[in-house]
Symmetry: C2
Subunit: 401 residues, 2 copies
């Protein structure tokens, strides 16, 4: 337990907090900032001036106001000038984006790739290529202040070593270090788990806005999870928290799972399980295949309905267990679990009502992710922005501004 901060640390904290307000909340007046931060207006004026001189925010007339009379100036983040690079190593695509302060997508690139094992250095090479291409089009006088990548695997904290990404065949890859070297920006590339970053994104900008305790489930080739508790991402001891897909829900007669176990939530309720139960090609995973099952069920296809019923049952058991252990306010279904939720919400709710304790579920909300396929990229961007939101001026100085 450390002592309280010095005056300089408080100033830095206040600059970071103000920047975070406009980064997450968008343009707002100094009066609103004063109220939200509990500071007087002259202190806010000083902070805004300092951030403005550094080129991080700008004061301007609001784009539109509903009121008559002269509108107040608003403080808005300099989205065009200060940005991060975010990468998402997906199952069948690599995505890279240049995202401005305030969470604005300024540029993006996607590279399709057939699913299957792939060397980490090839992936890093392709992502770095896209990123350097985007950087070359960025205007002079703009600044990249962070870089982060999301992978569908286990990432060690704090050093970012990628311990395992089963579908790519990765084991103990220094992916972040490799990207850092290839980018050559003097900025370390942070790496995070895709579902944890999806949880962060939905918490800050999506279906979980304003909610301090949520669980995010991300479906694609597997089922990933991210947990926000007390407003903070649950990391656990070494960063591996949230491996919800490998909670065993069917230990006695479960299906084999890619992890070597049996009866994991991912094995019972993942895309493959759904496609198999619906008597479709279980290797043709992906959003279209999942959507086809849901649409067939809507048209009355009995096999598709039974498949969604089964998968909904297992998802409901898994979610109910998480409700008992974590007492979230909101559970968010992202990735292809959005489609699955559309087709099996009744079954999921019915299981939750039978298993979750009444107090733990009485204020529960089940939601589909609002950020769609961008959730992971948005979360990676937030990871990349984290440093400038703690020490705005120092981070900008390091970025060469």
């Amino acid at each position: 337990m450390r002592a309280g901060p010095s005056l300089e640390e408080i100033r830095r904290h206040n600059l970071g907090t103000l920047l975070r307000h406009v980064h997450i909340g968008g343009s707002m007046s100094r009066a609103v900032l004063a109220e939200r931060m509990g500071l007087n207006r002259s202190t806010i004026l000083g902070l805004v001036s300092e951030l403005g001189s550094a080129g991080l925010v700008r004061e301007e007339l609001p784009r539109e106001t509903g009121r008559a009379g002269r509108p107040s100036l608003v403080v808005r983040p300099e989205s065009d000038r200060v940005y991060v690079l975010a990468f998402d190593v997906g199952v069948d695509r690599l995505a890279a984006a240049r995202i401005g302060l305030g969470g604005i997508f300024l540029d993006r690139r996607e590279i399709s790739m057939p699913p299957g094992p792939r060397n980490a250095d090839k992936v890093a090479e392709a992502l770095a290529g896209s990123a350097l291409d985007m950087l070359s089009t960025a205007q002079h006088g703009t600044h990249c202040v962070g870089v982060a990548a999301a992978v569908r695997g286990m990432v060690r904290r704090p050093d970012g070593l990628v311990r395992a990404v089963p579908y790519l065949g990765w084991k103990d890859e220094e992916f972040g270090k490799d990207l850092t070297r290839r980018m050559g920006l003097g900025l370390p590339v942070s790496v995070g788990n895709e579902a944890s970053l999806g949880a962060l994104a939905e918490h800050l900008r999506g279906a979980g806005t304003g909610c301090q305790d949520l669980v995010y489930l991300h479906g694609d080739i597997g089922i990933g999870g991210g947990v926000i508790t007390g407003g903070q991402l649950l990391h656990g001891d070494a960063g591996y928290g949230g491996e919800i897909g490998h909670m065993v829900v069917n230990p006695r007669s479960g299906r084999p799972c890619g992890c070597g176990g049996r009866g994991c939530l991912e094995a019972e309720a993942g895309e493959r399980a759904l496609l198999e139960a619906a008597q479709r090609d279980p290797s043709a995973t992906g959003r279209e295949a999942v959507r086809a099952v849901v649409e067939a069920a809507d048209r009355g296809d009995i096999t598709a309905r039974a498949a969604l019923h089964d998968v909904g049952d297992w998802l409901g058991i898994g979610v109910a267990n998480l409700i008992n252990v974590l007492n979230p306010r909101t559970v968010i279904f992202g990735g292809t679990l959005r489609e699955v939720f559309l087709g099996s919400a009744a079954q999921i709710r019915s299981r939750i009502n039978r298993i979750a304790l009444t107090p733990s579920r009485e204020n529960l909300r089940l939601r589909m992710g609002e950020l769609g396929d961008d959730a992971v990229l948005v979360g990676a961007a937030e990871l990349a922005f984290s440093e400038i939101l703690v020490g705005p001026l120092e981070t900008l100085a390091r970025a060469g501004a």
Copy 2:
């Protein structure tokens, strides 16, 4: 997001932090405090003087030193002068203790009671009686600075409404308010869940000292749980987090559970399940009965061994799931699960090794609780101390010092 603290808030924070250091860490020199808090010695001297004038700490020669020469003074908490009252509503006993700053038991009372339903007001009456009796023996000039009670049930945050304690037949009891009124000390009585408070106790003073991410399982009539993540107790949205006993591990062929469900961890691995599997009277629960099964297994009783094997299997599945979801560093078995762990550790470990992902378990430690039956009382005391450790002088002033 609020702005940084004022100078007055920093001073208060520093007083609270210094007091917390000696409360948790015991007597230590000003030099050690300066190092741990990152403050210079003159600031520490000022803080110690202020806490000393208030009667919260005292400087004295250490009781013993291993070194030659003149020893440094140490700052020690005024354990005899400043204390809290802690209550534990157990299955077959009520316990009350007067616990001094630094976590020293100054006095205690226990009341045995037959297990079974019991009116909340009778329990409050008995506990308040014990507490007032202890207060009457406390010396003049000593101060009670907080009161807290632990119950084996679900407690709403922040108001402390006891939503359910199944074995006592409680539902929506204003137990804390009732105790507050009966005590008449002008101090609100806080209420918490027994396993969450046990987790806090083992984290601060027991098998989880220094560990920021742990899971505590508490066995008695049921299985309760408490989770510490990032050094903080996991509360969830409304305080119901940690209901590990109602994680379903055997949905297809599970035993009926007291909650109305089937296949909950508590139903498969609780005391009743163990006694039934060992062909003993399942209604005669309690430490002696559990210990008898473990001892019989040690002597070679095949039925007892098989029972421990089964229960260890389910416990292992439950713990492995928690490892995948929460990535704790330490898992602590408390209450009668200490005995169960003694008799089934190999089975628990074997299940964990099969189910938990390798990175998530590679640094895992399985431990027995070190605080024994006192864990819950110690945790309740820490809940009662929480206010004085945030604002020492204000809290002491409110307590009439």
